[in-house]
C-alpha cells in the first residue's frame, strides 16, 4: 500500500496536502480507492461553500457502492477538480495525483488533529 509521508490524513480516508499559501488540497487515500473499487461518479461541493470538519461534503460512487467524503477541516471550499468529475476512474489510477477539492482553513488548530502517514496506516 502506498501512503506518501508528505501528506496528512483524516481517519475517514481523505489525504490533505498543505500548499505554500496555506490552502489545503484534498483527495482520497489509496486504501480508500482500493476498498471502493472502480470509481464511476464524483459529486463535489459547490465552490464557496463553508464546511465544518467532519461534515459530508462530497460523494464518491464506485460500481459497488456510494461513499461520503468528509471535510478534514473547517473552512471554505475554494476550488473543485472538474477533470476528476469528468474522469472518475482516474482516482483508481493514482489516488494521490488526483485531488478533489481545495479548502481555505478557518481554524489552524484543526490541522494538528490530522494523522501523519504512519498514524493513518496504523488505523487500517
Amino acid at each position: 500500500m502506498n501512503t506518501p509521508a508528505n501528506l496528512k490524513f483524516a481517519a475517514s480516508h481523505e489525504w490533505v496536502n498543505t500548499e505554500a499559501d496555506g490552502t489545503l488540497t484534498i483527495g482520497i487515500s489509496d486504501h480508500a480507492q482500493e476498498a471502493l473499487g472502480d470509481v464511476v461518479f464524483l459529486e463535489l461541493p459547490a465552490v464557496g461553500r463553508l464546511v465544518k470538519a467532519g461534515e459530508s461534503v462530497a460523494v464518491i460512487e464506485s460500481v459497488k457502492a456510494a461513499s461520503d467524503i468528509y471535510a478534514p477541516v473547517s473552512g471554505e471550499v475554494i476550488a473543485i477538480n472538474d477533470a476528476a468529475v469528468d474522469a472518475p476512474e482516474s482516482v483508481n489510477a493514482d489516488a494521490y495525483a488526483v485531488w478533489l477539492f481545495k479548502i481555505k482553513p478557518s481554524d489552524a488548530a484543526e490541522l494538528g488533529k490530522l494523522l501523519d502517514a504512519a498514524a493513518y496506516e496504523a488505523t487500517l
Binding site: 473499487g37 472502480d38 464511476v40 461518479f41 459529486e43 460523494v59 460512487e61 460500481v63 459497488k64 457502492a65 456510494a66 476512474e89 483508481n92
Partner: protein, 362 residues
C-alpha cells in the same frame, strides 16, 4: 458457517478479493470489476458458480412432479438436454426461487438453484415428493464454471478440444452430458450475462484443473461484481433482490415464465395467480443525469411512487441502469424521477433489457 467452493484456492491464487455471499466465501473481483465486465462483453470471462446447487431428479414420476412443482411447464421439453427457466412458487404464488431445469428424459432431470436458497428449496421440494415415484439427490460433489463471452466457446474448446464434438451443435438453452474417464460433465449453453457461452458442471475434484486450463486458454477470471453488472445489463432478475416470497412472478417481469396453456395442469400457486390483479409493472430505468441508482430507491411517476429493485452503473452504456417496480400505466419512454440521497434525478423508463451480445438495445 462459511463455505468454500472447490475453487477457493484458485481464487486466492488469482488475487481474488473475497467476500461473504450467502454464507459462501466468494471472489467479488480479481482487481477491476469493470475490466472483468468488459472481458465478458468483448472476449471471454469465467465465473465460479459452484455455490449454486445442482439437484438430480429421477424416477417414473419426475415429469409429473415438476409439472406440479414449477410455474413453467417442463412438458414442453422434448429434446434431450433442453433447459427451461422457471420460478418455483409457494401456495400464495410468492417466488421461493428461480431455477433452471435440464431435461434428459421424462424420468431424469437436473435442476440448478440459487446458493442462498438451496436449503430452503430442498426443504420445500422433499416433502412434496410424497405421492410421486421420484427421488431428489443433492449434488454437492460437483463444481460449476460459467465461461461467458463472444469467444467463450472457442476458448473452452481450445482448453478441451475433445469437448468440441460434444458441444458444437448445442443450441441456446441446451446441454449435453460428456463422459470423461468414469465421470460425467454437463456442458450447457446457458449463462447469466447476455452473452454466448457455456456453464460447465464437473466433478469437484476436477474443478481446479479446469479453471487452470481455461486460464491458460485466455479466459479472464471474473467475480460476483461483474456477474451482477452483466446480468443487470442483460435484464436478468436476481433472486432476493428483484423478487422473493412476497412477490409473484407477474410483479417481477416473469409472466413469460408462467405457463397456463394446459388448463388441466395444476401447479403450486396457480389458483392465486389466476385471480391476481397486477397493478405494478417491472421496468428498466436509464438515468439521464449523473449518479448511480441502487436498489430500494423511490421512483416518482405520474401515477404514483415505485421502487428500484436493482441498480448499478452500466460499464457498457457508461450510465446508471436499474430494474424497478412502477405503477402499471407508466409506458416505456416516460420520464420519471429517482430519489438518490436528497436529490430527484431524471430517468427514462425502458424495456428491462439493456445490453445483449455486446450491443446496447436502447
Amino acid at each position: 458457517m462459511t463455505q468454500h467452493t472447490p475453487l477457493y484456492d484458485s481464487h486466492l491464487a488469482a488475487n481474488g478479493k473475497i467476500v461473504d455471499f450467502a454464507g459462501w466465501e466468494m471472489p467479488i473481483h480479481y482487481g477491476s470489476q469493470v475490466e472483468e465486465h468488459h472481458a465478458v462483453r468483448k472476449d471471454a470471462g469465467m465465473f465460479d458458480v459452484s455455490h449454486m446447487c445442482a439437484l438430480d431428479l429421477a424416477g417414473p414420476d419426475a415429469t409429473r412432479y415438476l409439472r406440479h412443482l414449477l410455474a413453467n411447464d417442463v412438458a414442453k421439453l422434448t429434446t434431450s438436454g433442453k433447459a427451461l427457466y422457471s420460478c418455483m412458487l409457494d401456495d400464495g404464488a410468492g417466488v421461493i426461487d428461480d431455477l433452471i431445469v435440464y431435461f434428459f428424459s421424462p424420468e431424469r432431470y437436473r435442476i440448478v438453484v440459487n446458493a442462498g436458497t438451496a436449503e430452503k428449496d430442498i426443504a420445500w421440494m422433499r416433502p412434496r415428493l410424497v405421492g410421486f415415484d421420484a427421488s431428489l439427490i443433492v449434488r454437492r460433489d460437483v463444481a460449476m464454471i460459467a465461461v461467458q463471452g463472444p469467444q467463450a466457446r472457442e476458448r473452452f474448446w481450445t482448453a478441451f478440444p475433445v469437448a468440441r464434438a460434444h458441444s458444437v451443435t448445442l443450441e441456446n438453452f441446451q446441454a449435453a452430458e460428456w463422459s470423461v474417464d468414469k465421470n460425467t460433465w454437463l456442458i450447457a449453453r446457458t449463462g447469466y450475462t447476455g452473452e454466448d457461452g457455456f456453464e460447465v458442471t464437473m466433478p469437484a475434484d476436477d474443478a481446479a484443473a479446469v479453471w487452470k486450463a481455461l486460464l491458460d486458454a485466455g479466459v479472464k477470471p471474473c467475480g460476483l461484481g461483474a456477474r451482477d453488472t452483466l446480468r443487470l445489463e442483460a435484464g436478468m432478475n436476481l433472486y432476493g433482490q428483484d423478487m422473493d416470497e412476497n412477490i409473484s412472478p407477474y410483479e417481477a417481469g416473469l409472466k413469460w415464465t408462467v405457463d397456463l396453456k394446459d388448463a388441466d395442469r395444476d401447479f403450486v400457486g396457480k389458483s392465486v395467480l389466476a385471480g391476481r390483479q397486477c397493478n405494478v409493472r417491472f421496468a428498466g430505468l436509464l438515468l439521464l443525469q449523473r449518479g448511480v441508482m441502487r436498489s430500494h430507491m423511490k421512483v416518482h411517476t405520474a401515477l404514483g411512487v415505485g421502487e428500484t429493485t436493482s441498480g448499478t452503473f452500466s460499464p457498457t452504456l457508461n450510465q446508471s441502469i436499474a430494474l424497478a417496480r412502477i405503477p402499471a400505466g407508466i409506458e416505456n419512454g416516460s420520464e420519471v424521477e429517482v430519489e438518490i440521497r436528497d436529490k430527484k434525478l431524471k430517468a427514462k423508463v425502458v424495456k428491462p433489457t439493456f445490453v445483449r451480445h455486446g450491443q446496447s438495445l436502447l
